[in-house]
């Protein structure tokens, strides 16, 4: 069994394996597949609670992942934000001396969450410009 605490390196190595099999298209196809099959809880929460569904979803996952973050739900300005000060996934990969992270590792978040949120009427912006430092920012707002 692979411990859930060892999942992130397994995930990163899966992206490398897929790219070797079928190029970047294979990696992106997997991200779409994973989003459709694994993020049903986020989808249901946002369908039921709107923007607050994002708050409910990430309240659980980010705490279980022991992330270093600030999460904000502003219902008046209709904006949900995660400021990731140290991503638990990329942070772990960067700590490993004997394994290189998949070169485009962080983009999976953008693909997975955008694919759930945009069809529900939300804009999902992910700033990955500092992801090499395990820092990023996600902003979700209604489209109109």
């Amino acid at each position: 069994m692979i411990s859930c605490t060892d999942f992130i390196p397994a995930y990163s190595e899966l992206f490398k394996f897929l790219e070797a099999q079928g190029g970047v298209e294979a990696v992106e196809d997997f991200w779409n597949y994973l989003s459709d099959r694994f993020l049903g809880n986020l989808r249901r929460l946002v369908e039921r609670h709107g923007l607050r569904g994002c708050w409910l979803y990430w309240s659980r996952t980010l705490n279980e992942e022991a992330a270093d973050f600030t999460m904000t739900l502003d219902e008046e300005s209709q904006e949900f934000t995660i400021d990731m000060h140290c991503c638990p996934s990329m942070g772990r990969l960067l700590q490993l001396d004997h394994l290189e992270p998949y070169r485009d590792y962080c983009r999976h978040c953008d693909v997975l969450y955008r694919r759930v949120l945009e069809p529900l009427g939300y804009r999902c912006e992910v700033d990955l410009s500092r992801c090499h430092e395990a820092r990023c920012r996600l902003v979700v707002t209604p489209k109109e």
């Binding site: 069994m1 692979i2 411990s3 859930c4 605490t5 060892d6 999942f7 992130i8 390196p9 397994a10 995930y11 190595e13 899966l14 394996f17 897929l18 099999q21 294979a26 196809d29 997997f30 597949y33 994973l34 099959r37 694994f38 708050w55 309240s59 996952t61 980010l62 705490n63 279980e64 992942e65 022991a66 992330a67 270093d68 973050f69 600030t70 999460m71 904000t72 739900l73 502003d74 219902e75 008046e76 140290c86 638990p88 942070g91 004997h98 394994l99």
Partner: protein, 155 residues
């Protein structure tokens, strides 16, 4: 209308997100259905050879005690302590149920029919180039109950 802010540091929580087991199972299913069963085993083998390099080195240096410590901490962290028996030449790890399979069944995540390979193939890869060989003596696909044995290779 309210504004809510949650600020957390890594040290505020314990790192244990068991839903990752479900994500891994989805990954194995993607590989199985798009590239075939062998691709699942090949991926797990490559991952384990790359990621568990320090553990394989420790087994070569310290023997099966290094592997026993690995399993002890792995299953303890997942909340399913294993029955571990260790001699100089043999290590047996018995589980009443696999923590990953238990979590996925509880949460309703599909369990890949090749999930067993996260034990069989990964153990074999960890033991490659060590004096020991891995065997999976028993595995129940419904619960993940298993008996894993590691013994000294015959010359």
């Amino acid at each position: 209308m309210s504004k809510e802010v949650m600020r957390r540091q890594a040290s505020d929580n314990r790192y244990l997100h068991k839903d990752f087991h479900g994500a891994l199972s989805v990954g194995l299913e993607y590989l199985r259905t798009h590239y075939g069963d062998d691709a699942v085993r090949q991926y797990l083998w490559q991952f384990a050879r790359a990621y568990f390099t320090p553990l394989s080195e420790a087994i070569r240096r310290r023997g099966l005690v290094a592997l026993a410590e690995h399993f002890d901490s792995l299953y303890e962290a997942e909340g399913h302590p294993a029955r571990i028996e260790l001699t100089d030449d043999e290590l047996t790890v018995q589980l009443e149920a696999c923590p990953a399979v238990t979590h996925m069944r509880r949460r309703g995540y599909p369990v890949s029919p090749l999930f067993v390979e996260t034990t069989r193939t990964v153990n074999a890869a960890i033991c490659e180039d060590t004096p020991f060989v891995a065997e999976l003596l028993d595995y129940d696909t419904q619960t993940g109950r298993s008996c894993q044995r590691f013994r000294r290779r015959q010359p």
